[in-house]
Symmetry: C2
Subunit: 225 residues, 2 copies
């Protein structure tokens, strides 16, 4: 264990790729953690692998977990349609129940196993407009939990969740990532990615991503169908 | 959704069977949740199924999750020996990193999917002498997290974790369970259960269980090898 090591939740999307880029710039030794959770856009894991490789991570674990088996989200239940009519108010049907709580719980387990106390996630202000488990209050509550839930915490070195993008919107995230050499052609954000890795351009995640690149006056290097 | 429904983490051990018995007495409709997490004593799930059946639960989900893949515990890593020399000080090697945090995260996800806000766990004072994620401070922190992490919480009906055995020792738990008709011959506590379902009698879990039955002057109805 060294203080230079860090655990990163890596999804294949642009947020976590940006966090990886920032940590690489800082010379951190990264342990990436991804989840095969029954998501319909399962090939997002191919992009998580590609990002992990270009970032030179020290390890990359992909855990197969049974979250889809619980149902209740358009992202894990093929019977529920992904909305294509634009980003609305309230908590969307694409919310996967307690997903970030589950993901961070595994990160906490990995922190215990590796003796690494810094855990990074890519949640940001545009996510938490819709999903409860992306908001600052959630990260704060999880940090409090981490201090009492772990052997590390009991021994005085509690794991800490860091969300360095929390105050940023998508355009700011992309700008920060470009500054540290993140290759966004390796990332995907679409909830309905096709088997060739092309995005739909119509789901909420695509809309947010395309609007951000447009705001920056840059073409999104990822392919659309 | 009705307020009469409840989610229960069910392990096949005597604590969660006791909670199931108390909830059955109260006429609650139970949704049991168990985990196949790479535990070496995997046939404990057969006992979880037996308890679920006798308790007449409305549903029983067994989620296969990849916790053993992270390593670091004698309960999931065959390379680490289960101690047999008696219950010691500190956090034992049988501690599975962040196990209860992971389990309760899934319970939170199920709460969201079912719209059920009461979640019951069998943690108790003898567990939390050794494991950080069984202590009252952990349950309190998780309840705070549940309020901010979920759609239910945001909408004003936060899921609540209940640990009705928290103040009890094993003998008190067994006495409470016998009062409500729990059949402890269907439960197992051993970390090294053999394929015939016989307990070792020497691991910490067996020692605590046998001492509790002895304290009550009752023979443990479960078989030992």
């Amino acid at each position: 264990m060294t203080a230079n090591e860090a655990i990163l939740l890596l999804s294949g999307g642009l947020d976590s790729a940006t966090v990886a880029g920032l940590l690489r710039r800082d010379g951190r030794v990264l342990h990436a953690l991804s989840f095969d959770y029954g998501q319909r856009h399962q090939n997002e894991l191919d992009y998580a692998r590609a990002v992990a490789q270009t970032m030179g991570v020290a390890s990359h674990r992909i855990l197969k977990i049974d979250l889809g088996g619980l149902g209740g989200s358009a992202l894990t239940d093929a019977a529920l349609a992904v909305p294509e009519t634009g980003v609305g108010e309230g908590i969307p049907i694409t919310y996967v129940p307690a997903r970030n709580t589950v993901f961070l719980s595994y990160a906490l387990a990995l922190a215990e196993v590796l003796g690494v106390t810094d855990i990074y996630v890519g949640v940001n202000s545009q996510d938490y407009s819709g999903y409860p488990d992306c908001r600052p209050a959630f990260i704060d509550a999880f940090n409090h939990l981490a201090a009492v839930a772990t052997k590390l915490g009991v021994e005085g070195a509690a794991p800490q969740i860091h969300a360095p993008l929390q105050q940023l919107r998508k355009a700011g995230i992309i700008r920060a990532g470009l500054d540290v050499g993140v290759d966004y052609s390796l990332t995907r954000s679409c909830y309905q990615l096709d088997s060739a890795g092309r995005s739909c351009g119509r789901c909420d995640a695509c809309r947010l991503r395309l609007a951000a690149f447009a705001e920056l006056g840059i073409a999104d290097p990822a392919p659309y169908r």
